[in-house]
Amino acid sequence: MASLKELKGRINSVKSTQKITKAKQMVAAAKLRKAQAAAEAARPYASRLAKVMASLWSKVSGDSAPLLLSGTGEDRRHLMVVANSDKGLAGAFNSNIVRAALSHARRLESEGKSVEFYLIGKKGRAPIKRAFPGQVKNEFDTTEVREPGYGEAERIASELIDMFNAGKFDVAHLYFSTFKSALTQEPTGQQIIPVPTPELDPSVRDSGAVVDYEPDEEAILEELLPRYLKTQIFGALLENNASEQGASMTAMDNATRNAGDLIDDLTIQYNRSRQAAITTELIEIIAGAEAL
């Protein structure tokens, strides 16, 4: 059995760990509120843009559609854009995203397609490099970024569009975590290039009025496609940020609770050993007195 001194030391070390996890939990809770507000603020723009895109879609015929929309006509080289966080202490948040991306990548490879990776955030780097060595083509460093802004989304989107225009890939998928609640985050994968048709909400269908376009439908669509892509990436970054904070909060809450349980167990063990030591000492004294 561990000595009293050792037990005391362990109790103290668990206590200080608990303090750290508790602080991290509270920080995550505060950041989560902020991240949720940011995600909420981005929604009007995204929904309006999607509405405009959807109504333009129906107008532009197949042949004249821009490359970003129609694709290269091939389905051979896939790019996986995986958005992770830069910090851990968020439970299975990062590994869930990576797992979803890797299983999709394996499926694509088994179908004989080539897969490359574009990583956002540094937590996904190690597991993906291990699973697919040499296939991580690009990384976007977010270590300097405290909160994802539209600027980052813009830079990522324009890098992706440049790669696409340079013919580096045919299809791009984006992997991130959708924020459901502080307790549940869902790793999500979606195709971003070629741009998929936005779902038409039946309630916002055209009223049938003739709409004038300036300059014309195709030109507008051509301009809006990159913007739509940026908005999608921006939305994913915001969702990811909220998810990270939510996951972190839950994980740290569990850790704090586990530390509490451990402290209780150790304290009981400590008291028992102390009691045992006292009893032994008493028995020794009594036995000594009786012997006289």
Binding site: R48, L49, Y150
Partner: protein, 85 residues
């Protein structure tokens, strides 16, 4: 006869109000939007969107970059990537 005007950026809903007229710098030239304008979509060149609250009032300028305007039943929606001022 107010015109419902909304200015939205990816980060926030900047304006949502009823005004008299908005002058938008479209790619093919400026155009003013009053209430009851026909449905219309246009990309915007970087410049000032002028908001006239009441007839004859001095316009308020908002600089936008990377914009797009849509006029529909709900009024005028301006989507802009960046807004200054």
């Amino acid at each position: 006869m107010p015109l419902h005007f909304e200015l939205v950026t990816p980060a926030a809903l900047v304006r949502s109000e009823d005004v008299h007229m908005v002058i938008v710098p479209g790619v093919d030239g400026e155009f003013g939007v009053l209430e009851g304008h026909a449905p219309f979509m246009s990309t915007i060149r970087d410049g000032n969107v002028q908001i006239v609250r009441t007839p004859g009032a001095t316009p308020e300028n908002i600089a936008v970059r990377g914009g797009f305007a849509e006029v529909g039943d709900g009024g005028l929606n301006v989507l802009a990537e960046h807004v200054e001022g």
